[in-house]
Amino acid sequence: MTGAHGGESPAANNGRLIQIDHLVKTYMLGEVEVHALRGVSLEVRNGEFVAIMGASGSGKSTFMNILGCLDKPTKGSYVLDGIDVSRLTRDELARIRNNKLGFVFQGFNLLSRTSAIENVELPLLYGTSSLKDREERAVRALNMVGLGDRVHHYPNQLSGGQQQRVAIARALVNDPSIVLADEPTGNLDSRTSVEVMGIFQELNEKGITIILVTHEPDIAQFANRHIIFRDGKIKSDRANTSPKRASEVISELPAVDEEEPA
């Protein structure tokens, strides 16, 4: 697998990884029509670090679900890495999620009673890699997030920050084009939040595109581009010319012992 940046697509799209045109999503909530997205158009280029913000109900979660190929738009087109995913079947979407996307969730969403390495290997189980290859890649991904020494720990033996790092390793293991993070720091204390953002910044520097949903302006400060949703539309979309460096922020924070639950 050549992964995110290989193949024909980025060249063919001049580095445009995501092209979204007039995206509409409407659901039926009982008898009531809910217009979650009312025509969203957007482009994301390779290597961007985007923060999506907005109040709850602004449509940002629905937008993330569609970006993540977990949901299909009612109208409009979504071209990801040269592929029009708005027309794909359930199984084809699963394939895209497996090859091109990595997810990080607010609640970590690790399999309990399953070791860190097994959690990280999970996406590879649905691909074609061999047992040995799987293990190597999982260990490499865990090393990237600084958990090389906790490979065989179980989620309940890891702190919240460490669990989120396992989840990031899982998102990375398949060399995705994009890592989608939905409120990744929502369950973490401020210091750990900054640490996690530090990891995202490091990954971004390595060329991985990151799209982050958050409602905390502090967290959005680490991204290079801010998109604000309101009422199912994009209210503002601007570059953050002076993103904060997580490594600098952390050195200013008072030192605390990292919690280590039993």
């Binding site: 497996n98 399999l111 189980l125 649905y126």
Partner: protein, 405 residues
């Protein structure tokens, strides 16, 4: 997702809930063990019935005199006096499908040996009797044609009689008094046990039929003629030949009934086998009900498991699992449950059958077929009862599954 990976994750998933997995399997274990044990008992019963019936000799025909009909009052089997020695000679000479033949007559009486005595039946037979009935001599000798011709005062004791009269020593060469006729004991028969009707076949004294006829009963006719067909498949032929011959000899008009009857062991064997077969099927069907209940248990637990693991399903889908991957995963889990249960059940069933054999002294037979049947049945149950929950899991919407609390 490769099958091996699915198998590994199925085992892991089942391991996480050891107690629950075990209890679920228990339903299948008990069901399969019950099916195996019941089939073993049924087939054991069938085998022992067949054994007992064939202990009479498999290709044996018995000719009985018919019922006496005096002015319309019929006297029941054996009341006529139509079978004679000449009939025997004629059958032997003119029926090619008949192999061996032994005329039979019977007397009852007290047998005395020293200060011991024993009441039993005395069977008068020909010299081929043992061969027809596939019986043997444990020690000593059987009487010969010469003994038959001269109506020698000799006899052979059944095991039960020998034990009753001579508890301490060998009866061979001793003299016993049968109805006050002193007879020399030539030998003792091997133990044959009970027949299909539960009678002790060893409680008998055999003597030349001529001796019984001339010295004990003075009854001139034969009680029966024991005949063996040249082969089991020739039984109907022999029966037809004997019928034709005896009707001719007894001068029976074309539309009149026979004055004799011929029974063969095959009919009895078939009837008894059919009965035990029905018994086996009955036992196995009752046992398979418990297997069915076990299957429903699997379905129940798999449904609970799918609900409990909705979030896990969502996570798996978000990292790229297709519907069919999820379907396979849960189907394999159900299959692993039912297969492990099935294999344990087979082991338990085989062990249980052995225990029944040795404790209750019931014969049990475990056939390859019954093991294969149970094995196949547990696979079928795993697939059948696992499919619905697995499909339910596979059809989940990834977003809903991920948000499930």
């Amino acid at each position: 997702m490769k099958i091996l990976n699915i198998l590994i994750s199925a085992f892991r998933a089942l391991q996480r809930n050891k107690m629950r997995s075990f209890l679920t399997m228990l339903g299948i274990i008990i069901g399969v063990a019950a099916v195996i044990a019941m089939l073993a008992i049924g087939q054991g019963a069938q085998y022992s019935v067949e054994q007992q019936i064939s202990s009479l000799g498999t290709n044996v025909l018995i000719v009985y005199p018919g019922s006496q009909n005096t002015a319309g009052v019929r006297g029941g089997a054996g009341t006529t006096t139509t079978l004679t020695e000449d009939d025997c000679i004629a059958i032997q000479r003119e029926c090619p499908a008949v192999g061996l033949l032994s005329p039979g007559t019977r007397a009852g009486g007290q047998i005395i040996a020293g200060n011991m005595n024993w009441a039993t039946g005395i069977e008068g037979t020909g010299s081929d009797y043992l061969e027809i009935r596939k019986w043997g001599i444990e020690y000593g000798d059987f009487y010969t044609d010469a003994d038959i011709k001269s109506a020698s005062k000799v006899c052979v004791l059944g095991k039960t009689v020998a034990d009753a009269l001579f508890p301490d020593g060998s009866p061979v060469g001793q003299t016993v008094r049968i109805r006050n006729v002193p007879c020399k004991v030539l030998g003792v028969l091997t133990k044959k046990g009970q027949n299909a009707m539960g009678q002790d076949q060893d409680d008998v004294v055999l003597a030349p039929w001529t001796t019984v006829k001339r010295r004990l009963t003075w009854f001139p006719y034969l009680r029966q003629i024991l005949v063996s067909a040249t082969s089991p498949s020739n039984i109907p032929v022999a029966q037809a030949q004997i019928t034709e011959l005896l009707r001719m000899r007894h001068k029976i008009a074309p539309y009149d009934a026979d004055d004799f009857s011929i029974r063969n062991q095959a009919d009895l064997a078939n009837a008894a086998t059919a009965t035990t077969q029905i018994l086996t099927i009955l036992l196995a069907s009752i046992a398979s009900v418990s297997l069915l209940v076990g299957g429903i248990g699997i379905m129940n637990i798999m449904l609970v498991s799918v609900t409990e693991r909705t979030r896990e399903i969502g996570i798996r889908m978000s990292v790229g699992a297709r519907s069919r991957d999820i379907l396979t995963q849960f189907l394999i889990e159900a299959l692993v449950l039912s297969l492990l249960g099935g294999i344990t059940g087979i082991i338990l069933g085989v062990g249980g059958s052995g225990a029944i054999s040795s404790l209750a002294k019931w014969p049990t037979i475990i056939t390859f077929f019954s093991i294969l049947l149970s094995f196949g049945f547990s696979i079928a149950i795993g697939i059948f009862f696992g499919f619905y929950p697995a499909r339910k899991a596979a059809m989940l919407n990834p977003i809903d599954a991920l948000r499930y609390e």
